[in-house]
Symmetry: C2
Subunit: 317 residues, 2 copies
């Protein structure tokens, strides 16, 4: 039997760099990780990345490797460079695609992390076979990936899908981007935490969360508190689901997607959050869209999703 074609997916984050060898069935065959040291110069990072790549494909020299896909926050999918890599300073303004392609003699594809993840969902995950869907990754921030007419929407400058910075609340919370009221300041793992803090400020109501230092609070702990009957935690989750469900409606009237896929740390809250989100969403949809749009969690393991997404880039080229 002939070997399946293989693809390398690389997820470059501010903390870790994760490489994976993936076959065209979406199986992650082998992994190599190393920690991203943000103080490096790019040339040193490139050497580490090349070593890791060699280790990854060792033993697969006779396989047909389609190429290397990189998912990078803030990447410009049209140019293959990273205009502003806030958490990974050594990547800023590096023409990543060109540099790595000429060094590695392999086709290299670079995309914004959320766009790569959306492609992964289309090939292997919850959006398998769909031509029109939206992925929202609810983690530290809110990432968004759009697939319309079967293609990733990267925009005229490669900058599309920054929907985390759309407006949710006029004069609302400050965002790292310098604006106020951005969607991601409310709907993300960080947003949920801010909502919990805001609720703790607004009343003196008892809450287990008052025993946890804000830096130690996360979506999972808030979910556990809620499950244990903590009223403030439940309220924080309910508000977050309400904001998400309301804003998703705007995406539907614009793009009429088959599904909206949710991924990232906030989805660790589980079915409670998903069903609350669906209730608001269905209630606020225009009649013509009611019951038409699937809302579901990513079926890809959160640790693997980014690698699978990046590995999808060469497969979809």
């Amino acid at each position: 039997m002939k070997d399946l074609k293989l693809s390398v997916g690389i997820d470059i984050g501010g903390t870790n760099t994760k490489l994976g060898l993936v076959n065209t069935n979406g199986n992650l065959i082998k992994r190599v990780n190393f920690s991203t040291n943000p103080l490096l110069r790019f040339s040193d990072y490139q050497a580490l990345l090349t070593n890791a790549l060699e280790e990854l494909i060792q033993g697969f020299e006779n396989s047909d490797v389609l190429g290397v896909g990189l998912g990078v926050p803030g990447a410009n999918g049209n140019t293959g460079s990273i205009p502003e890599a806030a958490n990974i300073p050594f990547l800023s303004e590096v023409p990543l695609k060109n540099v790595l392609e000429s060094a590695w003699k392999l086709p290299v594809f670079v995309a914004k992390d959320a766009n790569a993840a959306a492609l992964g969902e289309m090939l292997f995950g919850s959006a398998k076979g769909m031509q029109n869907f939206i992925l929202l990754t609810l983690g530290t921030g809110l990432g968004s990936g759009l697939v319309l007419n079967g293609k990733i929407v990267s925009g005229s400058n490669g900058l599309a899908a920054e929907y985390g910075h759309s407006l949710l609340v006029k004069n609302g919370r400050w965002c790292n981007c310098g604006q106020r009221g951005c969607f991601e300041t409310y709907v993300s793992a960080t947003g949920l935490k801010r909502t919990a803090l805001s609720l703790m400020a607004k009343s003196n109501q008892y809450s287990i969360m008052r025993e946890i230092a804000p830096n130690d609070l996360d979506a999972l702990k808030i979910a556990e508190a809620g499950e244990a009957g903590d009223e403030l935690a439940k309220k924080a989750i309910e508000k977050t689901a309400y904001w998400l469900g309301s804003k998703m409606v705007d995406l539907v009237v614009l793009t009429d997607p088959e599904a909206i896929i949710l991924a990232g740390g906030l989805t660790n809250i589980g079915d409670y959050f998903l069903s609350l989100t669906k209730v608001t969403f269905e209630e606020k949809l225009l009649p013509m869209f009611k019951g038409m749009v699937k809302v579901k969690y990513s079926s890809l393991g959160s640790d693997e999703a980014a690698i699978l997404g990046a590995a999808s880039l060469p497969m979809n080229a």
Copy 2:
């Protein structure tokens, strides 16, 4: 010299049905109009439409007619039918594409009016040659057409681009769709009028507009009042431009378009409205998008735009 290929564009509205013969350079060669009687049965309307089509192509029997494109409010571009034709009851649930194609023995294309208009802008108008742009038609309501990756976004059910019903103001004005605060209740010719009325209600400030019956007030009259120094009229225009500029920002972070094209009755206000809109828009854009997105009026005559858009459908097939 060989004749250019021709295409028939039909703009079906609640008041008039307009047909035009258009060449591939976007020249409107011949027109036929008749008034749409909403009380007709579909079979009678079809007979009128067929007569008008025959009159239109009379004398062009030897030309190469690519097909007939129809732009219809509320049309489903995927099925070629009109699920709910609010103002044209006899079209409801008629499988328009199939019926006309088998009657006329010509390729027939049906699209939502705003989507057809967007295609017209791409082939002949302000978005000529662009692969990624958004058209907003600001008339009685607010229509929207998206072109991304060079293709009309019609969505998974053919229902995309109802952005007039996205949320602008929570618990805001009632919309015909049954919801509150929809974008089009503020930003459209009708929205401007409502804003003028609301301002007249809020104060007793002098305004020429108080001499005009609300049913006689329109965007042009409000613009004239503003030009004559009417403070309330100016304020109504300023607020409308502010709402439009703010909401356009959300479209940009999602889709990174090359341009946003504005058309429809509200644009009759002219440069004053356009420049105010641009000021808010640029001010609220994320830094990475500042200065990157063109905002301009449609260059197609408002009377011709709908016909040219519909005629574009067979040309782009």
